[in-house]
Amino acid sequence: MSIYSEKVMEHFQNPRNVGEIKDADGIGEVGNPICGDIMKIYIKVKDDKIVDCKFKTFGCGAAIATSSMVTEMVKGKNIDEALKISNKAVAEALGGLPAIKMHCSNLAADGLSKAIEDYKQKIKIKK
């Protein structure tokens, strides 16, 4: 018995894509130390496609599992598709989250969006 679904627990126990990407094309950070969840999402982009995605997260089970899940969901997607991934979609992919976790700890998709924005910004500057 757990407050989380099996899928959440599976991702929490074996988080995918943990780490930093040293030469990341984009980095997104979301969260809040008051709430106790901070996520950093790193992406590597090639031809508008996300070829690698890693994360580091300070937070609860939901924060870690959603971070892990979003890195899985995004790989191989092009940027426009990736931007369409919502926090809700991540939660659904995990088989749902407890109600109290839906707000504070379910921000991984926002983190991804921020990383993409960061990437776009960098591209602009380069141009």
Partner: protein, 399 residues
């Protein structure tokens, strides 16, 4: 899998002997204690016997014990009851920032009804300075309520010293003793309190029953109105099994206290704390090193968050708790950890291991074996590991 329970401050198992004592009152001696017939009178006898046991443990008179449905109700009753009954004398209440929510939210209720509340600060160990109590007293003060020991960090407050000050001022003094009754010796006259809250499930009694010690002559208004039960002080058909269970639990606690149980628990606790501090870096012990509850170990592990520790411990069979927001349904971390001066990001990394009478040396060894690995694993996930520098305090978003 081995299951090790180290969350005794949250609740305890009901002692097997307690359950045995309760049993006859479910299906055989099930009368209403207010009934005149034999079914009623045998229940009445059991209730009064339980009351005597509680009174004896804390050095009170049985007539000064009012049964409640738990610690929270006892706190609500004491605080709201004194306020309503004495509002003509004054409208000021003194408490502390680290009280249990049962006390804090009762005070907040009263603030909506015109009462003023002073929330005293504590030092970095969670200790209240009796002098602060003295300074806070005004001509309007009708009640001081300070907990005997804090449920999160285990700090034991100088109740006796505060009691003297409050008594001199002629004000009512309440203490929330939910974490101490049955765990350390208590004597109401020695502490100098007029009211003292007790909860069954923190001392191997059943959940849903508690008591308020109410010094004779205390002017109080009921929280729960209705029938004439508890000498007109708390209405509702008596929870006979609960009361019998609490009585038995108290009796057993008295024996344990006399038998030196406290020392045993303290030894295990200290082994646990030392073992953790020795093995893991960037940790902080919360609360006071010696003025603390026998079973309480509360430690912050920097760079990681509490719930993720709890889940990992749980997967290894260890039940613990945390002051992290994520475990309480609120957004902010424990008000207690903030009050002792921890920044939120560190407060989130707290782990509370509270030992009980059945924990063993092996349990401690087991935790000391698995915990470092868990911390290491989680720190590997953390964006901050090694330092908090990555924390862009100003750039992170509110949600």
């Amino acid at each position: 899998m081995k299951r090790i329970y180290m969350d005794h401050a949250a609740t305890t198992s009901t002692d097997v002997e307690v359950v045995e004592a309760m049993k006859p009152y479910f299906t055989q001696k099930y009368g209403n204690p207010n009934s005149i017939h034999s079914f009623g009178q045998e229940a009445r006898e059991a209730v009064e016997e339980a009351r005597e046991k509680i009174a004896r443990l804390i050095g009170a008179n049985p007539s000064e014990i009012v049964f409640t449905a738990g610690g929270t109700e006892a706190d609500n009753y004491a605080i709201k009851g004194i306020a309503w009954a004495n509002q003509k004398k004054g409208n000021h209440i003194i408490t502390s920032q680290i009280e249990h929510h049962a006390v804090l939210h009762s005070c907040q209720f009263l603030e909506k009804h015109g009462f003023k509340v002073t929330y005293l600060k504590v030092d970095k160990y969670g200790l209240i300075d009796p002098e602060d109590v003295k300074k806070a007293i005004t001509g309007q003060t009708i009640l001081v309520t300070i907990m005997h020991a804090n449920n999160e960090i285990g700090t034991i407050e100088p109740i006796k010293e505060i009691g003297k000050i409050v008594k001199e001022a002629g004000i009512y003094f309440h203490t929330d003793s939910v974490q101490t009754t049955g765990h350390i010796p208590i004597e109401v006259n020695d502490l100098g309190v007029d009211m003292l809250s007790i909860s069954g499930h923190k001392l191997y009694g059943p959940k849903g029953v508690g008591a308020l010690y109410l010094r004779k002559g205390t002017k109080i208004v009921n929280l729960i109105d209705g029938g004439a039960q508890e000498k007109n002080r708390r209405a509702g058909t008596e929870n006979v099994t609960g009361m019998v269970g609490l009585g038995k639990a108290v009796e057993l606690a008295e024996k344990r206290l006399a038998g030196g149980e406290v020392d045993k628990v303290v030894k295990l606790r200290d082994k646990l704390i030392t073992g953790i501090m020795d093995q893991i870096e960037n940790v902080r012990l919360n609360g006071h090193s010696t003025r603390r509850l026998p079973g309480n170990a509360n430690i912050c592990f920097e760079f990681i968050e509490g719930e993720s520790m709890l889940l990992n411990l749980d997967m290894k069979g260890v039940a613990a708790s945390s002051g992290s927001a994520c475990t309480s349904g609120s957004l902010e971390p424990s008000h207690v950890l903030l009050a002792i001066g921890l920044p939120p990001e560190i407060a989130h990394g707290s782990l509370r291991l509270t030992l009980g009478k059945d924990n063993t040396e092996e349990d401690i060894d087991y935790v000391l074996d698995i915990l470092p690995k868990i911390i290491e694993k989680l720190r590997a996930l953390s964006p901050f590991t090694g330092s908090w520098d990555g924390l862009k305090k100003n750039s992170v978003e509110e949600k």
